[in-house]
């Protein structure tokens, strides 16, 4: 047992006092968190891939797509919504750059701005659903409507989560004293910006499949 | 009534192609038994002879020779067992169960449409005009009659949930899926009565979804067919929409 226990006998208290260790630990943890986010995104990409696969199978099996007797999907509002989502990603990225440079005000503008644009996206989405619903496109009318509502609604849930998260991050940024680099708020911003970009990319694919093609 | 089986093991085979499955099952069993026996003996021998009193050999099994042997052995087992099964299986499908050209080429081929629903089998024969979904169709419930030694092609659909049309004595089975037309074929080599079973869970009365397959001699089949056609023409009711569940024989599906 002597050799096996050798490793344990070195110190009594856990942790070693090394200069600058806190910063290195923080950056190590940050990289671990980014890796976790990347793994999560791979997982969630599979979920949306499955939904797109379902869309494909529904569409291949349909006799007419879109069905002749149902209202057409609009293109104008969704296109604007798409542009807004792209813009919000851009804003967020600027906010992130500002955070790195230590510019708190522009970091806050980027984060809160992205959340605001996300909210506008949701409002537009709601109005599109409302108009289509009252024009007669309800989920019970067949696979076309089923695919449309399921995909866009499931994506919208992700936008809602993202908006809430960005608002929380913005609040944290606002409350952090001094420079926010290396703080929990800065970490949160990096992770949620990845999430937000992913929501945007998925929307791009969805917009193409559901509205354009 | 179908006759009960007398002993365990596969039920009586009355299919012209059934021997393929029975033979392959036997071959698989031989392989499986051999490998299982070898494994068990190996474990027992090791536990008895290489127990506590046996000095363990220091061997991490990563020498070139050992790796080669392990690879060669698993490749050998894979080649012999899986190779055999793969080839036999593919031959069975191409020459038997999935060879619809062979079935269609026969002059005495019988075509039947089967519609599964909770919890019964509707069967439809084209009748004298040779066309499905017309006035002279012969429609039966849980009662399918076919001639002996003739290929029978069944096109399958379902109206509510998924069912599976299974003929244990003929060794074949095919799912009946709503919105799809599936197909299968078989050829019986003996006359008699056999069970039609539903193999896919389809609700509370799944266990009662039982039909009967009657294999008749060609003469008897011709007589029944003529009688049934005459009866069905008289019984036809244009207003009874639910009775018209048939479809045009799916040509691209043959």
């Amino acid at each position: 047992m002597t050799l096996a226990s050798r490793a344990m006998t070195a110190t009594s208290a856990p942790g070693l006092a090394v200069p600058g260790i806190d910063d290195r630990r923080a950056s190590f943890s940050a990289n671990t968190a980014l890796l976790g986010m990347a793994i999560f995104m791979a997982s969630w990409a599979m979920l949306f891939a499955s939904l797109f696969f379902s869309y494909g199978l529904m569409r291949v099996g349909a006799t007419a797509w879109p069905p002749v007797d149902l209202p057409r999907l609009p293109l104008g509002l969704p296109a604007i919504a798409t542009a807004l989502l792209g813009l919000s990603s851009f804003l967020l990225q600027r906010g992130l750059a500002a955070a790195r440079a230590g510019d708190r005000r522009r970091e806050l503008i980027g984060t809160a701005g992205a959340a605001a644009l996300g909210t506008v996206f949701l409002v537009l989405q709601l109005s599109v659903w409302r108009a289509l619903w009252f024009a007669g496109l309800t989920p019970g009318t067949g696979t076309y409507a089923s695919v449309f509502y399921a995909l866009t609604a499931f994506h919208a849930v992700h936008v809602v989560v993202g908006v809430i998260a960005l608002l929380v991050v913005a609040a944290r940024v606002a409350m952090t004293r001094g420079t926010s680099t290396g703080s929990t708020a800065a970490m949160g911003l990096r992770l949620w910006s990845l999430y937000w970009h992913m929501v945007g990319v998925i929307w791009g694919v969805m917009f193409t499949l559901v509205y354009l093609l | 009534m179908p006759q009960p089986e007398t002993h365990w093991g596969l039920p009586r085979n009355v299919s012209v192609d059934g021997w393929r499955i029975d033979w392959l099952m036997d071959i698989t069993s031989v392989f499986v038994t051999m490998m299982f026996a070898a494994t068990t003996l190996w474990i027992l021998y090791s536990c008895i002879r290489h127990g506590r009193r046996h000095a363990a050999e220091y061997d991490a099994g990563n020498g070139k020779l050992q790796v080669g042997k392990a690879l060669a052995l698993s490749a050998l087992i894979f080649g012999v067992v899986d190779g055999n099964l793969l080839i036999s299986g593919l031959i069975d499908l191409d020459e038997g169960f999935w060879n619809f050209d062979k079935a269609n080429a026969a002059t005495n081929v019988v075509r039947i449409e089967v519609n599964a629903h909770q919890w019964a089998w509707d069967a439809r024969y084209a009748g004298p005009d040779g066309k499905f979904n017309t006035q002279d169709d012969v429609v039966t419930l849980n009662d399918i009659r076919v001639p002996v030694d003739a290929p029978v092609i069944v096109q399958l659909a379902a109206t509510d949930v998924i069912h599976s049309f299974s003929l244990p004595n003929l060794r074949v089975k095919q799912d009946a899926v709503p919105g799809m037309v599936n197909r299968m074929w078989f050829s019986a080599k003996e006359t008699g009565e056999f069970d039609i079973a539903c193999a896919q869970h389809c609700g509370p009365s799944h266990y009662k979804m039982r039909g009967q397959l009657t294999v008749l001699s060609p003469n008897e089949y011709a007589r029944w067919s003529a009688e049934a056609s005459a009866l069905s023409a008289r019984a036809f009711d244009a207003g009874d929409k639910t009775a018209h569940w048939g479809w045009d024989w799916d040509r691209k599906n043959k």
């Binding site: - | 393929r20 090791s46 220091y58 061997d59 099994g61 299986g89 299974s166």
Partner: protein
């Protein structure tokens, strides 16, 4: 890349009761939480199995003792609808709420940080969230039995249209679909943690090729979970929408009505997940087995690298063979044949792994304490389960066997028998580390022998009736003429099933007699060299006072120099090879038959 020593985060030990035992972020506590809930639902699922076996032995007869209370509306007998709910929930509970939490939730959490030399998981809070999301799913499952029309009844595979409102009305099925989504989310959270922990928090020197195979198995399982549980999630979402919001993904009309929903879409999604799921449940077991065979044969694992390669190959292949579950759905013949080829190919790496196991115990010095008995039991039942798979991989024999009890027997040998015995091997093996006490050897051995004999007989019985053509899921197995001679066989299989159920009482006695007792286990009762045995049993909150530095693989047994110089037959992963000194001399080694007591 392995972590340098000082970067591993340390979390202070919690002091309040809630933080310590309920909302704990400590991987060891979460492991226990998963173990407790998994064992509870194993009991639940097992009792459901007893009801199924009763029904198959005496179809429609009054259930003794509990019948009057449970099935009051059908005068104490199991009615067809209740029977559907029972077999459906038996399957779902065993797979998602018993095997998964025990093998992956409990032993994944316990072993991964301890075996790679980490102080906790990479994301302890996510770990806690994973468990409590799982609890939400458990709540939904349990309450689904209480609502009107009862719990889900469409089979564990939940095929629509039977699982839509058309086939199975009532809130029970909807709640179960939601529960599947929640437990899937919990699984993904856990898997993200496991993958990140293994990548980031390995101790210095713990390279991938020095990781215990237990960790390899759990890591590969987690990768499969991350990639394929979301596919099940998508299927569950679409089914939920069909049931609640009236969408029409899976609702199709008659043959003449084309262009409706597609029931087969669900089967694609389900089996894209479902086939990897089979390996998700067996890869950790393979890991345990490969390690434990070496530990108790006191011999290095045979061709460690080959086992790793085989497990990776199987992980990869498992993603592209799912179509063999759908041979009879009317799939394109070319596609069917391709899936048959791929399915047969997956047996090649499996054979390699199996041969490695057999070579590991060959010419060893085998000890047979309870964990080793269970491990050898896994090899035995997995041989049956794996070999009977090839009947089903070949399309022509599958045409006859598909959806029969033969399939049921086959997957019970792999998923139930092998995973179940492997779970018990893990429980008996890691119990000292987890709870600080050893389980009784005598009771454990009796539990093993009874379990092995009866589990083999039960599932052999199922395969025998399946060989005779008995379809699965029949309320009355003698409903068809060609099955009437199987009454005796079904009854005897049930008797074996009841005996299997009763044998588990031995485990319950053993477990409860020791789980709360005084902690008296030594640090390393089995005399093996992996990292978790270098710390006390149970380990302190932060696991390692100092993160160890690893210098070798996990299976260093009976090295001649170590025997000669240290007088023992194993060397720890952190230990340098001893340097000869003039005084050392040859010693004989006598290891205890039972785990070493303090």
């Amino acid at each position: 890349m392995t972590t340098s020593i000082e970067l591993q985060p340390i979390h202070p030990a919690p002091t309040s009761f809630w933080r310590k035992y309920v909302f704990s972020t400590d991987h060891k506590v979460i492991a226990k939480q998963f173990l407790w809930s998994g064992l509870l639902f194993l009991l639940f699922g097992g009792l459901l199995a007893m009801l199924i076996r009763w029904q198959w032995a005496y179809p429609g007869a009054k259930v003794p003792v509990v019948g009057g209370a449970l099935f009051a509306h059908s005068s104490g007998a199991i009615g067809p609808a209740a029977y559907n709910a029972i077999f459906t929930m038996h399957g779902l509970i065993m797979i998602f709420f018993a095997i998964t939490p025990i093998m992956i939730g409990a032993f994944g959490n316990l072993t991964i940080p301890l075996m790679i030399g980490a102080r906790d998981m990479a994301f302890p809070k996510l770990n806690m969230l994973s468990f409590w999301t799982f609890v939400v799913a458990l709540g939904l499952i349990a309450s689904s039995f209480l609502v009107q029309l009862g719990s889900a009844g469409a089979g564990w595979t939940t095929y629509p249209p039977l699982s839509t409102r058309v086939g199975t009305p009532g809130a029970g099925q909807t709640m179960v679909v939601a529960a599947i989504f929640f437990t899937g989310a919990a699984t993904i959270m856990g898997a993200i943690n496991y993958v990140a922990t293994v990548i980031r928090l390995r101790a210095p020197g713990m390279t991938y090729m020095r990781m215990p195979l237990t960790v390899w198995g759990l890591w590969l399982t987690s990768i499969l979970n991350i990639l394929f549980v979301p596919v099940l999630g998508a299927a569950a979402i679409l089914l939920f929408l069909d049931r609640v919001f009236g969408t029409q993904f899976f609702i199709a009309g008659a043959a003449s009505v084309r262009g409706g929903g597609d029931p087969i879409l669900f089967q694609h999604l389900f089996w894209i997940f479902g086939h990897p799921e089979v390996y998700i449940l067996i890869l950790p077991a393979w890991g345990f087995v490969t390690d434990l065979l070496s530990f108790f044969a006191r011999k290095p694992a045979y061709w460690y690298r080959g086992s790793v390669i085989a497990m990776c190959a199987i992980t990869g292949l498992s993603a592209i063979v799912y179509g063999h579950h759908m041979f009879t759905t009317g799939m394109n013949p070319m596609l069917g044949k391709a899936f048959m080829v791929l399915t047969l190919i997956i047996s090649a790496p499996a054979e390699l792994l199996f041969l490695n196991w057999l070579h590991t115990i060959w010419k060893g010095s085998i000890r047979l304490p309870t964990p080793m008995l269970f491990t050898l039991g896994v090899v035995f039942v997995f041989a049956i389960g794996g070999l009977t798979g090839i009947y089903l991989a070949t399309i022509s024999t599958d045409l006859y066997l598909h959806d029969t009890m033969f399939v049921v027997g086959h997957f019970h040998f792999t998923m139930a028998a092998a995973s179940f015995l492997a779970s018990f091997a893990a429980i008996y093996y890691w119990f000292p580390k987890m709870f600080g006490r050893c389980l009784y050897e005598g009771l454990g051995k009796a539990h093993f022998w009874l379990s092995l004999v009866f589990i083999t007989l039960v599932f052999m019985g199922q395969m025998a009736v399946g060989y005779a053509g008995q379809p699965r899921r029949l309320w009355d197995p003698q409903a068809y003429t060609f099955l009437q001679h199987l009454g005796g066989l079904n009854r005897w299989t049930s008797y074996f099933g009841f005996a299997l159920g009763l044998s588990q009482l031995l485990f319950m006695v053993n477990f409860f007699a020791n789980v709360f007792g005084k902690k008296n286990a030594v640090a390393n009762p089995w005399q093996v060299g992996t990292l978790e045995w270098t710390v006390p049993s149970p380990p302190p909150h932060h696991n390692f006072d100092v993160i160890p530095t690893v210098v070798r693989g996990p299976h260093e047994f009976n090295h001649p120099e170590v025997r000669r110089l240290l007088g023992r037959d194993w060397l720890g992963q952190t230990e340098e090879m001893p340097v000869p000194t003039p005084t050392s001399e040859l010693e004989t080694i006598e290891l205890p038959r039972a785990p070493v007591k303090a």
